[in-house]
Subunit: 469 residues, 3 copies
């Protein structure tokens, strides 16, 4: 039996002994800085509310969908709508009940911990989710979600979220962002307009044209449009961009080749190989732009998107099983860093799904180049074990000052505080252990805890520098 009073205060801290709790107490009250989420800005419009429980905790959470799917549960039963309009579950409570029937799958997973902590600490529900408690818990959660206290803006206050970054396509008009900065800031994500061979490229480009208010008929016009949008994003408080790629390659191409590849894309004759070369080139190009306008550049490398083609064809992107691959950061980033890496006006933040690169490549890069910081453990590694391995493997070589602090990458606003809390607790366990071993000086531990919980994220994401007037 888990003692709930213990859970509430000391959870996850036991492996660090009493010192972990002492450290945690010094940082528990710090505001949350959350510069990287997938929360939608429209959620903060007047009258908007969070999704009901089934969609909030199941249908919109790819971690949950993955694990249920792996045990043979069709995505349609979890509320996912096939692109061909085929049948799927539309009763939110039914989705929740199905989830509760399989809740045992989530034992020992971070998803299970986030769920438990969110139910208890955001919704005040101490009862364990089981098939028999599912309905009662559904009612309690939904009642609260519909209440004014759970209006998204109210939650920001309650969660003490000081800053929240959304993620927005380059072609977004950012209409929903008006008036939200500096607390809520957009993040410039141009992946869709750079993926020249993706079926969605033309519509992404059309959105960019519309938002930038200019026709894009060649590569120069493309760069102009991107520049215009970057400025517009900055006007609305953006301090960062976000880029995903399978490979870390940043090889620069000759101008003529870039123009020719872009022309081929417009003409519908692009090849996959050319599209990949273009993506690599554009990572390099975006770094140049960041050096000039000061937007922090986040690089998420190493996920092979839509590994499961059949599922991607049936449901669209982001449900088709993204599976990591090995990443060669050292050779991949060399062209970019050779040109721009010594200039501290550039701030690169690197995220990986390949833990073998923590000590081999990422920590040495961050411990050398003034422009490089290491993003927090990402995706599958935002977990108790993932956090511990990250800190163990990068800090000895990179030091703590070259870390970017924590980002939660959350899709759901209610998950933000519990994810930060888990990070903070793991940080305190780690520091307490290192202090006990004599590897971290006791005197330094509280400062380091605060940096990891708060200061590093503010500094790395330049939240104090670029506030719109």
């Amino acid at each position: 039996m888990v003692r709930r009073d213990l859970l509430s205060t000391d959870r996850y801290l036991a492996p660090g002994g009493p010192r972990a709790r002492e450290l945690y107490d010094t940082i528990a009250g710090l505001p949350i800085v959350s510069p990287h989420t997938h929360v939608d800005a429209e959620l903060f419009a007047a009258g908007a509310r969070l999704d009901p429980p089934g969609r909030l905790f199941v249908g919109s959470d790819h971690y949950v969908l993955r694990l249920l799917y792996s045990r043979g549960i069709a995505l349609e039963r979890l509320g996912a709508a096939p692109r061909d309009g085929g049948p799927h579950e539309t009763d939110d409570r039914a989705v929740w009940r199905l989830f509760a029937r399989h809740i045992d799958l989530f034992a020992a997973t971070p998803t299970g911990l986030w769920l438990r902590d969110t139910l208890e600490h955001v919704f005040g529900i101490e009862e364990r989710l089981t098939p028999s408690s599912a309905d009662a818990i559904y009612d309690q959660v939904e009642r609260q979600l519909a209440s004014p206290a759970f209006a998204p803006m109210a939650l920001l206050d309650r969660f003490r979220i000081e800053c929240l970054g959304t993620t927005d396509p380059a072609g977004s008009t950012l209409a929903a962002h008006a008036g939200l900065a500096p607390r809520i800031r957009p993040t410039f994500r141009p992946d869709a307009v750079v993926a020249l061979d993706d079926p969605g490229w033309r519509s992404a480009l059309a959105a960019l044209e519309a938002a930038a208010g200019r026709e894009i008929d060649d590569h120069d016009a493309f760069l102009d449009a991107l520049a215009e949008r970057r400025a517009a994003f900055r006007e609305l408080g953006a301090t960062a961009t976000d880029h995903a790629a399978t490979s870390a390659d940043t090889s620069r191409l000759p101008a003529a080749e870039v123009a020719s590849i872009f022309g081929a894309a417009l003409a519908g004759t692009i090849t996959e190989a050319a599209a990949r070369r273009f993506e690599a080139h554009m990572l390099n190009e975006f770094a140049r732009q960041s050096l000039e306008d000061g937007l922090v550049m986040q690089l998420h490398i190493g996920s092979l998107r839509d590994h499961n083609s059949a599922l991607a064809a049936r449901f669209g992107r982001d449900v088709g099983g993204d599976i990591p691959v090995a990443t060669d950061w050292t050779r991949g980033l060399r062209p970019l860093l050779d040109e721009l890496g010594n200039d501290a006006r550039l701030q690169l933040v690197l995220y990986t799904l390949d833990e073998s690169t923590y000590s081999r490549e990422l920590a040495p890069l961050a411990g050398h180049y003034p422009s490089v910081a290491l993003g927090s453990p990402w995706w599958f590694h935002d977990s108790p074990g993932g956090i511990e391995r990250f800190l163990d493997r990068v800090t000895e070589t990179a030091g703590l000052a070259n870390l970017a602090g924590f980002v939660d990458d959350a899709r759901s606003l209610v998950a933000v505080p519990v994810r930060h809390d888990l990070w903070r607790r793991q940080v305190c366990v780690w520091l307490a252990r290192k202090a006990a071993a004599g590897i971290v000086d006791e005197d330094d531990a509280p400062r380091l805890a605060r940096e990891l919980a708060y200061d590093l994220a503010r500094r790395t994401f330049r939240l104090d520098r670029q506030t719109p007037e």
Copy 2:
């Protein structure tokens, strides 16, 4: 000084505290499910007995041979017979004595632990093996091995082995398996007939022809013969197949190319590159067959066989130093999973020697595809540290329900119980620690311990489904 009474009951459990012992007590009495061994079915014929100590613990154990050889001890002195009929030690006691003289090499290795535990818990010998105790221990062990209590069938009962899988070439007649199922089941291993460029291919093919009772003069006949053998294996209780490859590549080839490559092999004009493409294709083909007949497909990937050519030439296969290489599971398995991975009639079990793929590739694959389960830590990783790293790295992403449970891969029947016991103890340490940290719910721990020790193996290997009448 190790307290032997402590060793007997609490060994390996200390890092998990008293809770580990409590958990262990709940599963210590469970029967052993051992679906993957290299024990020979002929051992269970009337009157057969286990090898004498030198051959049992030294000459037939590649872990022991490797480490002794690494310190400059010639394999001939350990009883290995060169292919050219050159001299080698034939006195079993002399092999045992040589082993005892070098017993210090095995400190901190799982081989050393298995030896100690087997001597104590199977043979009741608490004295430590040293050069001076070697002869007395030899006598005690050999006396027992020759006794009726150590008849292989009697040992199955004593060890409470509920199910034991052997590993048998595709061309095996399975003569020794008659009457042994469902307790002892064959496993279909077709590697030798798929390695078209291996010197042993023709004799393996001849065995397949003989067992299947048909001539194999083209690829269609080859597939027919394989199908016939799969059916015959199933008749005798098989629920699984086993496949080893250096690479995870599963690219399907056009039918014409497959036929042509197979024809070239028959004509003696096969190239190495073609042989590798054929192997990749056949992994894909075997998955199709498994989907149809329900045999669980085990894939052991990433060992470069016979790295030490000189030794392989002198002694034959499996002694020449198999050394692991990095594995690209994500891209390698994609062709197979794209076609068949969403169908839960297929059950793939993946084993790796590349730990960096645990969190990067294997856990994400198992945590998504309904057909994929993760095999237990394999070969060098079936060890205290290897088990801990495996559980740490895969469970957060894959969950525990996507694990295949434990297989011991043992060559020696007397090693089976101690290997399962070591796994069970490490599982309990791991669960107790996770429970203490608040990551596993105390209420869930006993259920998870039982699943890891017993239930998952039964379910994954479909032991309840396919029992011959």
Copy 3:
């Protein structure tokens, strides 16, 4: 507050409990064997002294320079002289002060621990280095460095350094080594004369010609000159060679191709691809020479040198950011091991920056080939966490007897004792934990501690075998 008395005696030992301290007490008094350093033999000439504090602790320590540079501090301010003769800090105290201002960067890094331990245990300074204590500490350190008690030969005695290996280019005359053996021994490092496409190749070759006293006008003459130098190194006490390469490739080339490539280098028409093939071939060739003359061959693989070209161009080699890459030891070493690996007259010592190869490739290689030993955790991995991961990942497969013991790779003589002490303490923590878990026998622990601290290094580096008369 760290209790300094505790620091002095029990530091780093706490995670191993009281047993770690007991083990440590049994080995703390052993002499230091340090067969691999970058200490300059000229330091031991009459009247020579160690550098002043700024240069000793900052300017000559690439770990320190890297981390300061990563936070935007120009290398010129740390005393580094640009190759174009541009301005740079020449006031040693100013360099020290700048270091002290940024001392917080080194929290949780091995560099920070080595500094603290050196100040306390070599210089008797218990006060923490801070901006305000910087000047007083500078004075105390410099006063001691200038005193006779800190003469390098006196420090060897005080540190109980039994043997110290320097690292010397193939073209070194070893003038400074006269009379120093067997306590101080040169190490043969031919990298510079093998790097045919390096700008420094011709001057390195000229030095080799001068030292060997013969003209090198073709590859045969090159081999003759190398053989002459190896003999000269052995005369002065060398027992080992040292080789660095980005890749582990050891493919042998046909004699005609080798001669042709070498000729192209002499003619100034070498290509990068040919230079890499030549390097791989020469690793194989050096192994042959080692097999013949008994010099232990050390291989440091996996660092991509001068990743930061701009910095390398400005300051020269070894400051331009060396960043590790993934290493394929298994396929890379195969040509070498296939030919020579079974012959125990050859002693290879392998060092890696790619931790994913510990369990996947290095431990299996060392646990099989009689010629292979595993070098201690190298460079970024000579750290508390790095040592623990190394021992955890290699010993289960390779056993302890296939390890090479500890080498400190130190550039500064005063760092030698604290690095060995950190290794010894971590070893005792590791052994104490394994003993507590029942994985290492209590009876074996003191012997294993001694081997790891002392015996293995003496044996692997053949320090008892090859002493000049």
